[in-house]
Subunit: 113 residues, 2 copies
């Protein structure tokens, strides 16, 4: 999470786009989410994460990873798997996950006035 978007890296790299609609049952969500944000930083090849949340609407989290191995390590992390399971049981009304290999990217930053 950051004030400005994660940078556009040199391709190839991977994005995991996780789009959610949450339930009204959010007990424990915030703590678990914060823990996952810390835990993912230990994954070799993890590059960063952006998140946006429309109040009462969609949330989109985009994780950036150097390669497919990094994503596999994150996907199969035991603590992450437990969080995923709890998410399906309690926190998410619906979600989609799209894992994709970046072919092209660019960034823009406004010049200082």
């Amino acid at each position: 999470m950051s004030e400005s978007p994660v940078e556009a890296f040199d391709p190839p790299y991977y994005v995991a786009v996780f789009t959610t609609v949450r339930t009204e049952e959010q007990g424990g969500y915030r703590e678990t989410n914060a823990r996952m944000e810390e835990l993912v930083k230990d994954v070799p090849g993890y590059l960063g994460m952006d998140h946006a949340q429309t109040p009462g609407g969609l949330g989109i989290t985009v994780g950036y990873f150097r390669d497919a191995d990094a994503l596999t390590e994150w996907r199969t992390n035991a603590e992450h798997r437990a969080a995923q399971k709890r998410g399906r049981a309690e926190w998410y009304e619906s979600y989609t996950l799209h894992v994709a290999k970046v072919e092209r990217s660019h960034g823009f930053t406004r010049a200082a006035d």
Copy 2:
């Protein structure tokens, strides 16, 4: 834009992840954004779009396209190019764009109680 996320299609398909920080100068933004949301629907191979906006923070828009040709058509659309140019001049403090080919996807929808 939708109440629930765009579905997880059968790969391969493309995602364009557009992450923004907006300026305080938002005159015309809403109208142009609405027009772009309509215009993109005319692109053959356009599959859908998800959007989330943290108030005062990051916005993330994810467009889904069947193939690279669909993305090229959208990127080079004259009206879209004019909107991009205005965005850099007025509306965006910073942004990143990541164009990526989806290799794996899945969706989850809570069973009705």
